[in-house]
């Protein structure tokens, strides 16, 4: 299978993934929007996924558990902030749903129909400094540092 247009870019506090899928934007959007589809591809290999509940509307919450191959369960909570059918999905990661201010990062998924297929662009935006001050130390700190890894990496290249 030939896949073109696959790239990952790290830019400031964003990671951008671009991919071409040989299916319509409609279908691609559909498999992002329904628990029975998500269960088929969302989990890493060896993981299974249980959706506790999913409200695929603006402001709606998707709570799910990823069951690891080692028997460990990972709780996840996502809030959809802006949905436009076959066009885009914006959501926020609310971590494990245990804490109110447990924001990890935001994601923007954009579907763009090109002929028979679809270009998918996904942006992960890591929290700003203001947000960081709110989040718990462990996650907040890790997320915050990542904004600057791009810069640090450049300097490290010089050192190598």
């Amino acid at each position: 299978m030939i896949r073109n247009n696959v790239e990952t870019i790290v830019e400031g506090n964003k990671v951008i993934y671009k991919r071409y899928f040989d299916v319509s934007a409609e279908l691609l959007f559909e498999v992002w929007s329904m628990p029975e589809h998500l269960a088929e591809w969302w989990g890493p290999d060896g993981f299974t996924l249980t959706t506790k509940h999913m409200d695929f509307t603006n402001g709606g919450i998707w709570e799910f558990i990823m069951h690891g191959p080692d028997g460990h369960d990972y709780k996840n909570k996502i809030q959809f902030t802006d949905i436009k059918e076959s066009h885009h999905i914006l959501y926020k990661h609310l971590g494990d749903g245990e804490g109110d201010h447990d924001v990890h990062f935001e994601s923007k998924i954009i579907f763009e129909q090109v002929g028979e297929g679809t270009n998918l662009t996904m942006e992960q935006i890591f929290p700003s400094k203001e947000e960081l001050e709110r989040v718990n130390e462990k996650f907040g700190a890790i997320e915050g540092a990542k904004q600057h890894i791009g810069n640090l990496a450049k300097y490290l290249e010089k050192l190598k």
């Binding site: 990671v15 299916v23 490290l156 050192l159």
Partner: protein, 109 residues
């Protein structure tokens, strides 16, 4: 404080950039690049050293700082893990949607 927390501060990130660019710098040389007081600089350096972002060696009266590559690598690894997870996930998505597409085409026949 871990390396990630240590780098959540603007001044400390600037210090790290400066040290990374120059290889080695004394605390005095670092301080000359900032408008903040020497005690404040030394506080930041202490945090960066205890978080293992910077290494420090003493020569006579001087404290010389350099970058601790392994901590930085740890952070890079962390980010790369996320990127890797998503790339794998998108691979899986690709396989899955093609399967669905095929099934639906088949159903129409």
């Amino acid at each position: 404080m871990n390396a990630f927390a240590a780098l959540a501060d603007d001044t400390r990130r600037e210090i790290v950039r400066l040290v990374a660019k120059n290889g080695e710098l004394t605390s005095t040389e670092i301080g000359q690049n900032f408008k903040i007081s020497p005690p404040a600089i030394s506080h930041h350096l202490k945090i960066l050293k205890s978080a293992k972002v910077l290494n420090m060696k003493k020569e006579a009266q001087k404290r010389i700082y350099s970058l601790n590559g392994s901590s930085i690598n740890e952070m890079e690894d962390w980010l790369l893990d996320i990127i890797d997870l998503w790339n794998k996930r998108l691979d899986k998505l690709d396989r899955y949607v093609l399967k669905v597409k095929k099934e639906r085409a088949h159903d129409k026949k």
